[in-house]
């Protein structure tokens, strides 16, 4: 048996206790222990941004955070973006601007873009590209993603 531990955190606004292996990354715990599979694995070494989540409001690659590190933290994943009023402007803009093709990078882009707009509500195209350079997309050529983010900023 491997070494398990109980971790207490707030995930998407809900207090949650979960059992994690000491070796689990936050990404592994979210996906395989908690069942929140919206956060995606693209590389598992911090180079693609698909696993982006907010930890206490800060943008992190969840593959580079140990599950044990989120003890007491507030974690927001893609599943926590929409509100009772429905999709947030970023999500709506991604749909209207056709900013996704396969959609595997989309959760990471949405979370990273949310962090961008939280920090800088009116980014220039260059600022958006710079901020999102840590998120790889292989389908879109980024054009429609950047347009969607800039459109959401206007909303």
């Amino acid at each position: 048996m491997t070494d398990r531990m109980i971790v207490s955190a707030t995930i998407n606004g809900e207090p949650l206790e979960f059992l994690a292996d000491q070796r689990d990354s936050l990404l592994e715990a979210l996906r395989e222990r908690i069942g929140l599979t919206g956060t995606k694995e693209g590389c598992n070494d911090g180079n693609c941004g698909a696993c982006s989540v907010l930890m206490d409001g800060r943008l992190v690659n969840s593959c580079l955070v140990m599950a044990a590190e989120v003890e007491g933290a507030d974690v927001t994943t893609v599943e926590g973006l929409a509100t009772e009023d429905g999709l947030i402007p970023l999500q709506q803009a991604f749909l209207e601007e056709a900013a996704l093709q396969c959609g595997i990078c989309t959760p990471g882009f949405l979370v990273a873009s949310k962090a961008l707009l939280d920090a800088n509500p009116n980014p220039t195209e260059y600022e958006a590209r710079y901020w999102l350079a840590g998120n790889l997309c292989r389908c879109t050529g980024y054009d429609k993603i950047i347009r969607a983010v800039l459109k959401a900023a206007e909303a």
């Binding site: 395989e32 693209g42 599943e79 999500q91 093709q101 396969c102 959609g103 989309t106």
Partner: protein, 762 residues
């Protein structure tokens, strides 16, 4: 052919939100790696650290003894194979024997990362621990890494049972070799053609192996039930093709293999072959439990199928007035460890944009100790277009001609024969060239030091293949549409739009669903730029069938003759006037509500395999700036022009052009398989395998030219692949314009460009 001159469409050409959109922006969409089943085990793979080695001994006893480990599998667990079976994978066939030996190494490991054994355990970390407990004894052999060295008759052999097959009718070689296939296209008189030429440019080009780079690693979850039924959940470009491979590799009847297509995180051709799916199946059979396997990114890069590294020689001759009179192309493509490179497609596409009377194209498919290549977006064409379009740029410069003018003078058109002798149908090659030439981008002045502009063309043949679908009318006038072709970039939307158009309904009236292999007829892969094209034919057939059935039902309800009733494009069914002079008409929605109780509900089925494919042409313009200090190339402006036939959903068509262009930019500037002398890839992470980021590109202007394909109900041509063909040469031609240097080996990384700049100076 059906009419393509409809003045306007109601639904086609609009930009609705995709049916799977909400799920994909909320994290609810379920991809292959998201499968979680009760009692699920986790599998991992032990891979060869050597590029070429004989496997002397595998001892798994220590791994099997580890607490939590449930089973181990290797080559011996695969059932005996029927080596002669040839599955149709949609984008190139693969012989079963090579496919099996790629799933698990048999007597030899043939590339770094070749699978040796798989293990499953109750926890992913335990499975990983177990890999370190498997003992393998190797006899290391020297790796063969260079495509032309591997062609040498005295080169060591990867396989003692590989013989060269000559696709040009030359039979099979007598002796084993590293060359899987050979072909030659000849037309006209090549010697006379070069004699007629006033000017001849003859250059050699090389490209590195490059990966599709889909963000989602390969995955597969298998459950082999006690009653012998195997269910596999995974992300692939075609669940039926996965089913066929499992059927052959595991010797199971097709009816007993059910493949459930999960959402797929990119494929670009690379998610057609199976890798871990058969391993997971064997491990499930051994344990009676579902087994999930996911590749690491390193495994994706080292052990799935990138596209070939290539060597291409292009020799082209023209007269002083710009007429191209002869072209000779030679190409050798790395197949990786097993034969099957896209060399024949590369050969066919090399001269696709041009009408050249005298030509000779010869190619070789060559095994080396690298991963077995798979399809990658217009497989083979980017490398040969890189060579041809670079030489044409040089010819235009020497002849002092505008590069588009020279191409227009020699442009292929309807009736022009391709290198293999087949004549072109209606194509938009000339229209694309003219649109490039007339574009604001091309006509604008480029100012500034170290800046240059390049152009290049690309051709891709596109595909048809099988698509099956059925549609059931609901009593409220909506339709549930079931399809077997997976949706990677908006295909559900383009299915719905074409069916709505054909029935006179609204987009939102149709709800599409992609189903598993037990629920619809065999459908081929989403690939080959075929899916929206074939979908249009399937939706057209469904609509004709539904219209006919609805007409018959209305006739029955009204008590009139069947041929007195017709379904109009406004979705109203009309019959003859009633005896009291009143009009007999019923809307689709009203009639749908009357189906129940008047003979039952109505559904239709379509199984199509259209061959009236419309080839695709693209022309790209790019402005670059080259840093003379570092050799780094920045893209300043990019325009991608393409004949798309008819854009069903223009946003998704533009997205194909933009995404294809950026993958081509990656091939041109940064992406390469960097091997050391031992055949070990030294950049097997996404930090070091450098795919373009949002910061590496400007907006990519997508210009859609619509020359309708007369072989399609709505004029559609496939659009997905050809946009990756022009970027390589467009960029190196721009680098030449900026610096005077011609990059003949890709990628044109800062190091490579700087080396050329420095050697130019000395």
């Amino acid at each position: 052919m059906v009419a393509t001159d409809k003045p306007a469409y109601r639904v086609i050409g609009s930009r609705p939100v995709r049916p799977d959109g909400a799920d994909k922006v909320t994290g609810r969409a379920r991809y292959g790696a998201d499968v979680l089943l009760p009692g699920m085990l986790y599998g991992r793979v032990l891979r060869s650290p050597h590029a070429h080695a004989r496997i002397v001994r595998i001892d798994t006893s220590k791994a099997e003894a580890l607490d939590g480990v449930r089973a181990v599998a290797s080559w011996d667990d695969l059932p005996p194979k029927n080596w002669d079976e040839l599955p149709n994978l949609g984008e190139g066939a693969a012989e079963t024997r090579w496919m099996a030996r790629n799933v698990f190494a048999s007597d030899k490991a043939l590339y770094k990362g070749h699978a040796i054994a798989a293990v499953c355990a109750t926890d992913p970390h335990i499975a990983e621990d177990a890999l370190g407990l498997i003992e393998v004894e190797y006899e290391v052999l020297p790796p063969l890494l260079d495509v032309r060295e591997a062609m040498d008759p005295n080169a060591p052999l990867l396989h003692d049972d590989l013989y060269t097959t000559d696709l040009s009718g030359g039979g099979t070689s007598d002796e084993p070799t590293n060359i899987g296939k050979h072909l030659e296209f000849r037309s006209g008189d090549i010697e006379a053609g070069f004699e007629e030429a006033d000017i001849v440019v003859d250059r050699e080009f090389e490209t590195s192996m490059a990966h599709q780079g889909y963000l989602e690693p390969h995955n597969g979850t298998a459950m082999w039930s006690e009653d012998g039924e195997l269910t596999v959940w995974n992300s692939s470009q075609g669940p039926f093709v996965v089913r066929e491979q499992l059927h052959m590799l595991l010797d199971l009847p097709l009816s007993k293999v059910k493949v459930v297509p999960m959402e797929i995180g990119g494929g670009f051709g690379g998610k057609i072959p199976v890798y871990m799916e058969p391993m997971a199946a064997i491990l499930s059979k051994k344990t009676g439990r579902p087994v999930k396997m996911i590749m690491t990114r390193q495994e994706v890069l080292e052990a799935t199928g990138p596209t070939s590294g290539t060597w291409v020689r292009a020799k082209i001759g023209a007269t002083n007035d710009g007429r191209i009179v002869a072209a000779e192309i030679e190409l050798a493509f790395e197949a990786g460890a097993f034969p099957g490179s896209p060399f024949s497609a590369g050969a066919l596409c090399a001269l696709g944009p041009y009408d050249i009377e005298n030509q000779r194209v010869e190619g070789w498919d060559v095994c080396v100790n690298k991963p077995k290549v798979a399809a990658y977006r217009a497989p083979g064409a980017p490398a040969t277009a890189f060579a041809v379009e670079s030489v044409l740029d040089e010819l235009a410069e020497l002849l002092e001609r505008d590069p588009i003018d020279l191409r227009l003078q020699n442009a292929a058109r309807e009736g022009t024969r391709l290198s293999d002798g087949t004549p072109l149908p209606v194509v938009g090659n000339i229209e694309v060239m003219e649109r490039v030439q007339g574009s604001e981008h091309y006509r604008s002045e480029l100012q500034g030091e170290n800046r240059g502009r390049g152009v290049a063309m690309g051709y891709w043949r596109n595909g048809g293949m099988e698509t099956s679908a059925h549609a059931a009318i609901n009593q409220d006038g909506t339709i549930n549409l079931v399809v077997g072709t997976v949706d990677i970039g908006g295909l559900r939307a383009t299915h719905s739009m074409q069916l709505a158009e054909a029935l006179g309904l609204e987009y939102d009236d149709i709800r599409p669903q992609v189903v598993d292999t037990s629920a619809v007829g065999r459908s081929s892969v989403t690939g080959g730029s075929r899916s929206t094209f074939a979908a249009g034919w399937a939706m057209h057939e469904l609509a004709q069938d539904l219209r006919t059935q609805l007409e018959a039902r209305a006739a029955q309800i009204w008590g009139v003759e069947r041929d007195e009733v017709s379904y109009g494009d406004d979705a109203v069914v009309r019959g003859p006037e009633a005896e009291d002079g009143s009009e007999r008409s019923v809307s689709f929605k009203e009639l749908a509500g009357q189906l129940y109780g008047s003979g039952g509900m109505i559904q239709a089925r379509a199984d199509v395999s259209p061959t009236t494919v419309g080839p695709a042409y693209a022309g790209h313009v790019v402005d670059v700036e080259v840093d003379p200090e570092t050799g780094k190339v920045d893209i300043l402006r990019y325009t991608a022009v393409q004949d798309v036939g008819k854009a069903i959903h223009p946003s998704y068509v533009e997205g194909q052009l933009q995404g294809g262009a950026l993958q081509g930019i990656g091939m041109a500037l940064t992406e390469e398989y960097f091997y050391d002398d031992d055949g070990v890839m030294r950049n097997s992470s996404l930090l070091d395998y450098r795919m373009p980021t949002a910061l590496d590109t400007p907006m990519i202007d997508a210009v859609l030219v619509e020359v309708a394909n007369p072989g399609h109900p709505y004029g559609v041509r496939g659009v997905g692949e050809v946009p990756i063909v022009p970027p390589l040469a467009a960029i190196t031609n721009a680098i030449h314009a900026a610096t005077g240097v011609r990059m003949q080996k890709l990628p044109a990384s800062p190091r490579a460009v700087l080396n050329e700049l420095l050697s130019e100076e000395t």
